[in-house]
């Protein structure tokens, strides 16, 4: 289990998933501003160099966040947490990834990417005896522009549209555009952001299966790409690569909306561990 988690961290920080690479190549083909094209060219070159030298794409290898889908009948569920922590420590030294866990009171960096509640683990109990493990190394620049708002229920979807485009305009160059936006609607203040962040895991070539929501994703994507922010905020037409919306039912009095930003280096990796010990990597080919 520890080895699988280690491999996932390593693959995630070095190799971008195919769908993200394709979206960036498409962006390079479509971008018209010189400044924007220069930035996208540097981004694509950098992705190639990272693969060639097997080094992390970006020096900010993020806060390590795991999503675990644990089959109720899977073995060793009590050992997962310890394995994830050990894998994170090992990755810090062996990949290496940057030590990014700081005590908010003493400002001391733990040096190994672990600390109270970090790495953060999201648990989900599902049917069966398999374990699905996903890592999301979440960069700090894009994290700093994430926003959550309690909107007025009477404004409905119009309020959501305004909230998202305003968030993108306010973020400007800071979250390393072109970005991916996870939008979480409903639930409650914490739930909306959890949904938004989890939506960042959805491959960029997939829309929300609900055609009405897929339409909204497209509409917001077109709108935010009219801002002119462009790659790295130096001006251009490609500011966002994808808008991924998900939702929960809301309280009658509340309309929570959260926008989670991911940078162009949208790293993620998943694997499935079967009861018989076989491991299937879902996003990367592990040699």
């Amino acid at each position: 289990m520890e080895n699988v988690a280690f491999n996932l961290i390593k693959q995630a920080v070095i190799y971008l998933p195919e769908d993200v690479k394709q979206a960036l190549q498409k962006a390079y083909a479509e971008e018209t501003s010189d400044a924007g094209r220069t930035q996208l060219k540097a981004i694509l070159d950098n992705i190639g160099f990272a693969e060639k030298y097997q080094a992390p794409i970006c020096q900010d290898t993020g806060t390590i966040i795991f999503y675990i889908k644990a089959g109720a009948k899977a073995k060793d569920l009590d050992k997962i947490e310890a394995a994830l922590i050990k894998a994170t420590r090992r990755a810090t030294v062996e990949v290496p990834i940057r030590p990014n866990a700081v005590n908010p009171f003493t400002q001391k960096n733990s040096g190994d990417n672990t600390g109270r509640l970090i790495p953060w683990i999201n648990w989900e109990i599902v049917q069966g005896d398999e374990i699905e493990m996903t890592v999301l190394p979440k960069g700090g620049g894009a994290e700093n522009t994430c926003v959550m708002g309690m909107l007025v229920p009477g404004e409905g979807i119009m309020g959501v549209k305004k909230f998202v485009v305003d968030a993108v305009m306010k973020a400007g160059a800071k979250p390393c555009p072109p970005n991916i936006l996870g939008v979480g609607i409903g639930g409650g203040s914490d739930i909306a952001m959890k949904i938004a962040k989890k939506a960042l895991l959805r491959p960029l070539n997939l829309s929300n299966p609900d055609p009405e929501i897929a339409k909204l994703e497209k509409e917001i994507l077109e709108a935010v790409n009219m801002t002119g922010i462009g790659p790295m905020g130096l001006g251009g037409k490609i500011t966002v690569l994808s808008v991924n919306i998900d939702y929960a039912y809301r309280h009658p009095a509340s309309y929570p909306v959260a926008v989670a930003f991911n940078c162009w280096a949208a790293r993620r990796a998943s694997a499935r561990l079967s009861a018989d010990g076989t491991v299937e990597y879902l996003t990367h080919t592990v040699k």
Partner: protein
């Protein structure tokens, strides 16, 4: 758009030649400084304590690199820029007191920094955010590290670089700020976007 190649130490006269949208490559000595190193350097200055090295004419890189120690030598693994706006509260004093000439980062900086750059002669060079291996390739060696007690990302890494770039000059020493220009355009586009979405302004 002109392309310039400067070697440290860089003079005020050289810096004044640059205009926004020019492209710059820097060779020589560059050091990293993020929030904590900026804060400590300014605290030292206030207390009259000397810095580990003179920063005059050098390039400062807003970056918290990944660094590996092999035997007794440090090597840079990945070193892209961090968001510069966090340093806005320090940078004008930093430019004024230490006479750094090139500030390298991502995301741009604000009014205070732009004014200090015009007054004392410095520029802001935007390096592609996340392009950590492109940056690492131009870093030839780690000359030294200071203030490692701040942690790997926040320490001051003193680097020997060769043609570090391309740096898009986004703030020049004549009061121009490309990021502010983009911001103005975004503000202009806002009404069009609201209209498209059927929102009232």
């Amino acid at each position: 758009m002109a392309v310039y190649k400067f070697k440290t130490t860089i003079s005020e006269e050289e810096i004044r030649k640059l205009r926004v949208n020019d492209v710059l490559y820097v060779s020589g000595t560059m050091f990293t400084a993020r929030d904590q190193a900026h804060k400590r350097a300014l605290d030292y200055f206030k207390q009259g304590k000397p810095l580990p090295l003179s920063l005059e004419g050098l390039a400062v890189f807003h970056c918290g690199p990944i660094v590996k120690k092999k035997e007794d030598r440090w090597t840079i693994v990945a070193a892209g820029p961090t968001t510069s706006t966090r340093m806005e509260i320090f940078e004008d004093e930093f430019i004024k007191n230490f006479k750094v000439r090139v500030i390298i980062g991502k995301g741009g900086m604000g009014k205070r920094t732009t004014e200090a750059m015009a007054k004392y002669g410095a520029v802001y060079g935007a390096f592609t955010g996340g392009a950590a291996i492109l940056a690492a390739k131009a870093i030839k060696s780690v000359k030294n590290v200071e203030w490692l007690d701040l942690g790997m990302p926040e320490a001051m890494w003193i680097l020997e670089v060769e043609e570090f770039g391309p740096l898009a000059i986004a703030i020049d020493s004549h009061g121009n700020n490309l990021f502010e220009d983009v911001k103005k355009k975004v503000e202009e586009n806002k009404q069009k976007i609201y209209q498209k979405l059927g929102l009232s302004p």
